[in-house]
């Protein structure tokens, strides 16, 4: 994790945030070209995808199973689970290990891991006001963090190029860009 980059100036901003509630760290990742995020505290580990073994007759959103140090983990394709457009995974795809229901560890297959944002509760807008009435039940809210809120760029980035992608190519880095915060419990239910 040598290339994790702590953004300078984070300490200064904390003062301004005090009146907006405690800061929560969110891991942002890309799905079908859109940035999504989930609380970092729920993500146990980020894996490069090992070979997946598909399970016949499993629900469509199940990509397959992998072994993580001897433990079987069911991997769920978040694109499919959220009914987004499907595409072939790229080299940048990652699996986020999260704790599912009943203590089961699940893998969430995402296109790319982008960054970690620190957000106060006050910065999270209820999805209903932002997206109209058609709110998917698995969306906890949205945020417009901008580059300033980024605590760590490209947590798993392989180097400068990845960092650049994280800050440049992804919408939320630009001021006004929107990140969709997922309610993981609803996603996994």
């Amino acid at each position: 994790m040598a290339n994790l980059v702590r953004r300078p100036g984070a300490g200064l901003r904390r003062v301004r945030q005090q009146d907006r509630g405690p800061l929560v760290e969110y891991l942002a990742f890309a799905l079908a070209g859109e940035p999504y995020a989930a609380p970092v505290s729920l993500v146990r580990e980020i894996l490069k995808p090992p070979p997946l073994t598909p399970v016949p007759r499993a629900p469509r959103s199940v990509l397959g199973i992998v072994s993580v140090r001897g433990q079987l983990v069911t991997v769920i394709d978040l694109r499919r689970r959220l009914r987004l457009a499907e595409a072939q995974p790229t080299r940048r795809a990652r699996i986020l290990l999260v704790d599912g229901e009943a203590g089961e560890t699940l893998g969430l297959f995402v296109d790319e891991v982008l960054a970690v944002y620190r957000l106060a509760d006050g910065e999270v807008e209820a999805a209903a006001t932002a997206l109209g009435n058609e709110v998917a039940p698995y969306i906890a809210g949205i945020a417009r963090p901008g580059a300033a809120r980024m605590a760590i760029a490209a947590p798993l980035g392989a180097g400068e190029a990845a960092k650049k992608r994280a800050t440049m190519a992804s919408a939320p880095a630009e001021e006004g860009g929107v990140v969709i915060l997922l309610d993981l419990r609803a996603v996994l239910a």
Partner: protein, 740 residues
């Protein structure tokens, strides 16, 4: 800190549970004894000790209810030991109820529930009433016994003496010289030699000894042999056997006990203090420290409920180690990883040999690898053995349930158990207890007829339920067979048609087996009217599901008027299995070898179609086929728009030109041919369960690591058999439900 406390609590529960289970076992022995009229005194002692230990444990952990119950129960058992209370069916009932309540109390304590248990309070009151009572008149006065000896008998010994006399045994006095250095061993040997012939009631040092290093004991023994025979039987040098003479009847005084507690004085025997505490007795009698521990312990028990925990019981517990089954699972995982290392090692060794680099090096590696294999194998076996427990653990519980239910239902039932020593994986035993309990209940409630009905058809009034277990290859078979009324298939069919489970024309063509299997359909069994007419009860579908989860199958046979037999076939262990690896559409699957009978080449021309299903003829019998690629809708064989087993199937058979194989799997008496592309080979695999999110996916028993990060799914042969033996119509419905 809290952790240590939790662990201690855990220990408490598992130890208490173990003791309560033992209690149940002893009670059954007592029940048996009570019926045949010969109660084993040791059993009563064991019970007393067990309850005593429970009391100690309960006190330690503040389980008050348990501690009170134990205290009362201990009192009752003590009275029984001493002959103050006779073992009557009523007393036995109290004991059985106590054992059952212990179970429930433990359950409540474990779940941290503190609800009122009025039944416990009731029982405690009853126990309290049941205690005490006058001892039967003593026949001891009929014998020419030294009053000095009688005066030092403990109450327990007195009771044993009475009992033995009542049984018509002859009393003997033995005088034996022992070397002080070896007295422990020698006394044990003597007891062992005496045990088959009778009982040693007490022994006392006579005070006379040949020299300072030896001691003479005066032993009072009851025995069924004559004096001469006893001398031979004991085969001990220097033992003097003397029969205790009976008094002429006229000389017997009317006072039943010629020695009462009041008359006891230190001077009477000069050596022992009656009614003294253990410590005092030791003091008064130097030789007590020389007595073997069993003896001391027996006396300690006799001194009543005040004594601390038995020395012997602590020792026996320390002999074994309780292990959390999950720790064994983890060990098994490591063995699995090692197995992967092993196969890599084999590949490396093969490569080295093929490369002809160094003959010496390669043969050294080969040897090393062979040694590694061998040790790994014995390690695997060792861990599996540790996990094995006898089925008796659950059978004992069943016996108690049978006693209870047959009482409630007012039916006389004789449970005959064979094969309780058959061993299975601990996890399986745990999971078995509910289904077995259920089937027992069914057999008594619905299987065995009422007494009058049985007599009317000339059956013995007492019904019989046989519970048999035996090992068969890699499986354990458990049979539950009753001689009751059997299942009324006609009425079962009627009910099925009424309920719409079966169409009327299907009902006519159904085989007997298919009809019997109707009891496993959920809707059929939960309705009370069905269970009444069918004579078989609620929840057989649950039983079946539980058994299937363990990788087992359940089979039902029933003959009207003769009885019903349920056969359960289970794998011995779940953790590691030999498997056949096969390839289907480029994916590797593992098939437990236990289910595999043989593999044959598929002759596409030989495939016929019967009842919407592909079959081949194998040595004269019809073998239904299952095209795995098609069933799992894998690349190249997915059937679009056609129902499984429909027109697409014939297409799939002829589509490929490559040779394919049929792996014949069998579970119980049923067989199925699984069509696969390639046979890869045999391998020992560690089965790991699929995650909870894949629970609803049918057909897989789990998955296993194949090395180089790949995972193979393990096929669940029993489930596949089950799935494919339901009628095609059901299968279609099931698949529609799945897709929808």
């Amino acid at each position: 800190m809290a952790d240590a406390q939790d662990r201690a609590r855990e220990e408490f529960f598992s130890e208490a549970q173990e003791i309560v289970e033992g209690l149940g076992r002893d009670l059954l022995g007592l029940d048996e004894g009570q019926r045949t009229g010969r109660v084993d005194a040791e059993l009563v002692n064991d019970l007393f000790r067990a309850v005593h230990t429970l009391k100690g444990l309960a006190g330690l952990f503040g389980a008050n209810r348990m501690s009170t119950l134990s205290h009362e129960l201990e009192g009752l058992l003590d009275d029984m030991r001493l002959g103050r209370v006779e073992l009557t069916p009523t007393v036995l009932d109290l004991l059985f109820r106590s054992a059952e309540l212990y179970d429930r109390i433990l359950q409540n304590e474990k779940e941290g529930r503190d609800q009122a248990m009025p039944e416990v309070d009731d029982l405690i009151r009853e126990l309290h009433r049941g205690k005490g009572g006058a001892p039967p008149p003593s026949p001891i006065g009929h014998y020419e016994l030294d009053p000095g000896l009688l005066a030092v008998l403990t109450e327990y010994e007195e009771h044993r003496l009475r009992t033995n006399i009542a049984q018509g045994l002859t009393l003997f006095r033995l005088r034996v010289q022992f070397q002080l250095a070896t007295i422990d061993q020698a006394l044990d040997d003597l007891k062992a030699a005496a045990k088959p012939h009778g009982e040693i009631i007490t022994y006392l040092p006579t005070g006379a000894g040949a020299d300072a290093d030896s001691i003479e004991l005066d032993i009072l023994m009851a025995c069924k042999l004559t004096g001469a025979e006893l001398e031979v039987a004991l085969a001990l040098n220097g033992v003097a056997v003397e029969e205790v003479a009976r008094r002429p009847v006229a000389a017997v005084s009317s006072s039943p006990v010629p020695f009462d507690r009041g008359a006891t004085a230190e001077g009477a025997a000069g050596t022992r203090v009656r009614d003294g505490s253990e410590a005092r007795r030791r003091e008064a009698l130097d030789v007590a420290s020389l007595l073997p521990p069993q003896m001391v312990q027996r006396e300690a028990g006799g001194a009543g409920p005040k004594v601390p925990l038995d020395v012997a019981s602590i020792r026996s517990v320390a002999q074994t180690v309780r292990v959390d089954i999950q720790k064994l699972d983890r060990l098994m995982n490591i063995v699995g990883e090692l197995a992967i290392v092993k196969s890599s090692l084999t590949r490396l060794s093969d490569r080295l040999r093929a490369a002809h680099i160094s003959r010496e090096l390669s043969s050294d590696l080969h040897r090393l690898q062979r040694t590694f294999d061998r040790h790994l194998e014995s390690m695997q076996k060792g861990i599996l053995e540790v996990r094995m427990v006898p089925l008796g653990q659950v059978f004992d519980k069943l016996a108690r349930v049978v006693r209870q239910i047959s009482r409630d239902a007012d039916k006389h039932v004789n449970l005959v158990i064979t094969g309780a020593e058959t061993e299975v994986d601990k996890l399986i035993v745990e999971e078995l207890s509910d289904p077995l309990m259920h089937m027992m209940r069914n057999a008594i409630d619905h299987g065995i007829e009422s007494r009058s009905a049985r007599e009317a058809v000339g059956k013995p009034a007492m019904g019989t339920i046989a519970l048999n277990a035996f090992q068969k290859g890699n499986h354990v078979v458990i049979e539950i067979e009753d001689d009751g009324g059997g299942i009324d298939t006609d009425r079962l069919l009627d009910a099925a048609v009424r309920r719409g489970v079966l169409a009327a024309d299907e009902a006519r063509t159904s085989s007997r087996r298919e009809v019997l299997n109707l009891v496993f359909i959920p809707g059929m069994t939960t309705k009370s009217d069905v269970s009444e007419l069918s004579g078989r009860g609620v929840g057989m579908d649950v039983v079946k599901t539980n058994i299937s989860k363990l990788g087992g199958v359940i089979d039902l046979g029933s003959e009207r008027g003769i009885g019903t037999k349920v056969t359960i076939t289970l794998p011995i262990t779940l953790a590691i299995i030999s498997a056949l690896l096969v390839d289907v559409a480029g994916r590797t699957f593992a098939l437990p070898l236990a289910n595999v009978q043989e593999a044959i080449v598929l002759e596409p021309d030989a495939v016929r179609r019967i009842d919407d299903r592909e079959v081949v003829t194998l040595r004269g019998t019809t073998l239904p086929l299952c095209f795995l690629g098609q069933l799992f809708e894998l690349d190249g064989s997915a059937v679009v728009g056609a129902s499984p087993g429909g027109a697409g199937a014939g297409h799939a058979v002829t589509k490929r030109n490559g040779k394919r194989f049929v792996v014949v799997v069998s579970v119980g008496s049923r067989k199925l041919g699984l069509v696969v592309d390639t046979l890869i080979g045999e391998q020992d695999v560690v089965i790991k369960a699929l995650g909870a999110s894949l629970k609803s996916v049918r057909g897989f028993a789990g998955a296993t690591e194949l090395g180089d990060q790949r995972i193979g799914l393990v096929l669940d042969a029993p489930a596949l058999l089950e799935e494919l033996s339901t009628s095609p119509r059901d299968a279609r419905q099931a698949s529609e439900a799945r897709d929808g």
